[in-house]
Symmetry: C2
Subunit: 663 residues, 2 copies
């Protein structure tokens, strides 16, 4: 069936899908081609080529662009990073091929489920008739069945749609001599899936047989596209229950001596960042964040209400003191109490003095108010707390004088004594004595505040789970900067491909005129161990002309594992790489001549690349001050040589606790 199938009024299923993706402002589609998805990919190219013309059913006339990744797992990690930058109402899209492709993507999709990231996973499958006949095709389990992959998807996505099943149920049939089908159900089901993805901020799964790519949906579906927009927002709260909860909360705040706000993951995931910032501004209350809520609110000097990061017993003593001893009411927004987000469940807060605002319910002390959503409640709370905002702000500034004594709070470099205290005598000896440690070696204690001084407004900073993410938690970020990490799912290797997605997101936001994105840089911190899992995705960054700054902390192996168990065990060792060659490997050799191919005409220009090795504080300091380097106009790899056995303070504490939890 060619793409010219259907009557003048019909619309191909793939066209319908692409138009909906356009309406959702999807800028790019990522993945790896496979023979069951090639037909769909061809439709993407066609659709992209005629974007903006009359044949285009999208709203903004900007069709998504195809980005080929180095492998499928990397594609999902990149999709994850992209969705985090574009915000909760703009899902990412990944296309893979049945079996081999989709299972390679499984870890990345599950990560999006765990971390609440909206990703649409479209899988190209064999023709519906090949599936009905149970043909023993390649990319199958050799059992003539096609159900296993959908069963797997059910475990790691919020909703699933297999068009082969719709067809088998008779809900997609060609009428009038192959010209137009009964496809209202197909369109309706597709819309439902897309709405679940965006509204719940969770991944969804779509299996599309290669023959149905060209299935002609009837004219009614074409109208549906323009007349029935996707319902991606939550419905408003019921007035009576909302008003009741609002009164309960404002009473609590009024009666409390020291109420504080704690901003967590779902603030970002469920689209209440603006509402939360408004509440902070109007209420004058002190705010803290968890690791997963970090940078949801302004933590720069410009915000006198910011108190730091609360991670239970891992927190700085000054933060612990405020939250656990002074505060008598905690308004926790978008709470997600996982082990790494709570200092291994070491919160010392009392439920009777905690209010939790969730996307689907509000909890006040021991009472749960189901169906009252924070999205609707927050603006009302903002209004209600405006009245005494100014008085509260004064009290907040008074209170936070304590928290502001935290050395890391202002990205202050450690004194020699502080730096030495992070090592054992044996370690100091092995590194050449205390003089060497404080004058030259790049310690964790030195690195992170120095990084904090380096950051500038608008930067997006990705931290790999491990040394990097734990180190970044102790850094105070400038205005409009964003911290990204996979604190809950914690899949090793995530951050490198996620950096591709973040860079693509920054490019998209910049195109749309976002000033912070235009000013900001994409910056990755990753260890030498983690980098090995997914390093090839840097090639895609170069191919796309993207210019992230990639800091590879080379401490000779899996340091987070060493901190937890087996400090000297060989299973925590890795093959050492010569990172100076990585960027040059991932681009064409100097004499390379690209084959003449019209399809390359629209390719972006490849990035220039640069590699820097830093062995000492002085080298790192000079580089971070370098004007050329700070432009971030190349894809840049900075290898930071750091001693083995060293770790940020928060990671040391977490590792001790994880170790005993696992015993």
């Amino acid at each position: 069936m060619s793409s010219s199938a259907g009557t003048r009024n019909s619309i191909l299923l793939s066209e319908y899908l692409l138009s909906r993706l356009e309406q959702l402002n999807v800028p790019v589609i990522q993945g790896v081609p496979g023979d069951y998805s090639l037909g769909l990919l061809s439709q993407f190219l066609d659709h992209h080529a005629k974007s903006g013309s009359k044949q285009n059913h999208g709203i903004n006339g900007k069709a998504p662009e195809w980005i080929g990744n180095a492998n499928e797992l990397n594609a999902t990690y990149s999709a994850d990073g992209l969705a985090r930058v574009l915000g909760p109402q703009r899902p990412s899209v990944v296309v893979t091929t049945m079996g081999v492709g989709e299972l390679s993507a499984a870890n990345g999709i599950a990560g999006c489920y765990s971390e609440r990231i909206p990703v649409i996973h479209i899988v190209g499958t064999p023709t519906s008739s090949a599936q009905e006949h149970g043909l023993l095709l390649h990319h199958t389990l050799g059992d003539h069945k096609f159900v296993a992959f959908g069963q797997i998807a059910r475990q790691i996505t919020a909703a699933q749609l297999d068009f082969a099943l719709l067809k088998r149920e008779g809900r997609m049939q060609l009428m009038e001599k192959d010209s137009e089908g009964t496809g209202e159900d197909a369109a309706r089901e597709l819309d439902r899936i897309l709405e679940v993805c965006v509204r719940q901020a969770l991944p969804v799964y779509i299996a599309l047989p290669s023959d149905l790519v060209h299935f002609p949906l009837p004219a009614s579906c074409k109208h549906r596209l323009t007349e029935q927009s996707l319902q991606t927002g939550f419905s408003p709260n019921k007035a009576d229950s909302e008003a009741y909860v609002l009164r309960v909360i404002t009473d609590k705040v009024t009666n409390a001596k020291c109420p504080v706000i704690l901003v967590d993951a779902c603030t970002l995931r469920h689209n209440v960042v603006k509402e939360t910032r408004a509440l902070v501004a109007s209420s004058g209350l002190p705010i803290f964040t968890t690791p997963m809520g970090k940078t949801a609110v302004d933590e720069s000097d410009a915000n006198p209400q910011y108190g730091g990061v609360y991670i239970g017993s891992i927190s700085s003593p000054e933060v612990k003191e405020v939250i656990e001893e002074k505060a008598d009411l905690i308004i926790a927004i978008g709470t997600l109490q996982s082990d790494f987000n709570t200092g291994n469940f070491s919160y010392r807060t009392r439920r009777e003095s905690t209010i939790e605002l969730h996307s689907d319910r509000i909890c006040v002390a021991f009472a749960t108010y189901e169906g009252v959503r924070m999205k609707g409640l927050l603006p009302k709370l903002t209004d209600a707390l405006k009245k005494h905002g100014r008085q509260r702000l004064e009290k907040t500034e008074e209170l936070l004088r304590v928290a502001r004594r935290i050395p890391t709070f202002n990205n202050k470099l450690p004194t020699p004594q502080e730096e030495l205290s992070t090592f054992t005598h044996e370690q100091i000896g092995a590194m050449g004595g205390s003089q060497s440690v404080t004058s030259s070696i790049i310690s964790q204690a030195y690195l992170w505040p120095r990084v904090g001084q380096f950051l500038r407004p608008g930067d997006r900073v990705i931290g790999e789970t491990g040394t990097s993410a734990f180190g970044l938690m102790e850094v105070r970020f400038p205005r409009d900067a964003q911290f990204l990490a996979q604190v809950l799912w914690g899949s090793i290797g995530w951050s490198c491909p996620a950096t591709l997605g973040v860079s693509l997101g920054m490019r998209e936001l910049t195109k749309q005129g976002d000033a912070a994105a235009k000013q900001g840089r994409t910056i990755l911190f990753i260890g030498d161990g983690s980098l090995q899992l997914t390093l090839q995705e840097i090639g895609t960054m170069i191919r796309q002309g993207l210019t992230p700054l990639i800091f590879v902390l080379n401490n000779d192996g899996y340091e987070i594992e060493r901190q937890i168990h087996g400090a000297e065990a060989s299973y925590n060792d890795i093959q050492p790489y010569n990172h100076s060659l990585l960027l040059d490997l991932l681009r064409p050799p100097p004499n390379y001549r690209r084959p003449t191919n019209p399809s390359h005409a629209s390719d972006p220009e490849m990035s220039k690349t640069a590699y820097h090795a830093t062995h000492t504080k002085a080298e790192l300091h000079a580089l971070l001050k370098d004007e050329e380097f700070n432009k971030a106009d190349k894809c840049t790899l900075v290898e930071v040589f750091m001693p083995r056995g060293d770790a940020p303070a928060a990671l040391r504490r977490q590792a001790e606790m994880s170790s005993s939890t696992n015993a």
Copy 2:
């Protein structure tokens, strides 16, 4: 709980597991460490260290060695390759961590299910009590549940065992003040799982909570280890049904004018290679193989009965003629009729003249004899057909004179005219004219017979799905050489890490005195597109001192996809790499000094490496003749520059058919 738990007579669960793996002759355990599996990995190291001592419960006193991979998917691909080399009775083992690690491994495990490869996947999970309490731990889906991952494993493994569930059911309880548990069920279940893996040649899944690594099994389990060996073989056939089937088959053979044997995948997978070779020798019948059965029987000059590869309509006309027109009886051993194994289901054989021998049943024409297994039947058939073997051999030689006319059959280089005929006029023009094509350009038509001439006895040759595997199908292999490809599952990127497993397998076989393995080399053929997905595993090969020859066919993108759909479409393009840097990237820089660490003392010495670029026939020819190169004593990468748009004849024909199947 420390490893000193338990009484003198008890045995730790991890010790029991490791002893069983030793009894199964598992040489290495592969994977990536994660905090939920670190305790288990420590036990591996301990067990390995005391291997051979009295404390060791294994039979051969050779404990498996830990090999850390670059990522989990690669670990499973390597395990797959290893199991293919060691044969069906020696499973591979992969260890990952819950959620993130095991899902990254899912595609590789599913591939083993599809292709019938025995792999034991052990997943380190959180403590049984953390799971019972539903703690919101890292590496979970954030839903307080731990069931999703087991549900996924059910879809892609033959059997599953979660010790956390056994514990919850009260089947693993500590008695006598923490010293010895009720663990007979645990040992029995574990044995069952291992038996399923080996007997069915399928992957299995074991979830082991970090606390139960040190669970003390009672003394009875210690005795079980030595007194009750694992039942990994099939029980013999029932005498009456076997005798009946034998008579039916021998009658058919006696009455046939031209019976032939067709050797397929399950000959290798279900451990009847020796039996099949004996049948071939005794019967004197002509033999052909399918792509998946290739090299199960000797196809060298020394075997006058070998007729070639049958792939339905993709076969050479001479092979087609014998199988489809001359043969009036086909004895198909270990049949697996998938699309890529049958020329897209284009067999022209008749069921009434086909006998299928399977691992669990025999089919003669339209009759199925359930429960009669080829393993027991084959030796009897060999005896029964011995009588007229010599006469049949004469007829076979006569018959195969036809098949032996096939140009590729003797790895004969193409004539200039034959080579030119594989290109269109446009392609020849673009490559600089016919003179340039025949004299210098490395075409597919030239490459594969040249590779055939290069191979020597004992070589193991891995072909990536695509150009490489289809090209190798047309090569005649020397004695004791093995062809390995993922013909059914066909996951892009599989072959590079599989090469690690194959090399490890060759090392193991050589240690055991296998002469063919000692003589043979490990040789990979992979495309530039496929290599990108998994290239980091070459670092593990270097780290392990392995010396494969890696041929990277650089034809500028995904050629197999181009052949199927979108010859000029941008989604089939890739980022070009500078492959000359790859090996040097994946080893330490010249000035690298390894940290002093006692755990490194037993590390193998890293391989030397070498890179060669070949742009012309002359360059490739010279290299393949080079004595130093032929030693294969370095980890070597040969980049073979080939024109885009070129493909082996078999792939062209398969691609045309796949393209229309997908429409």
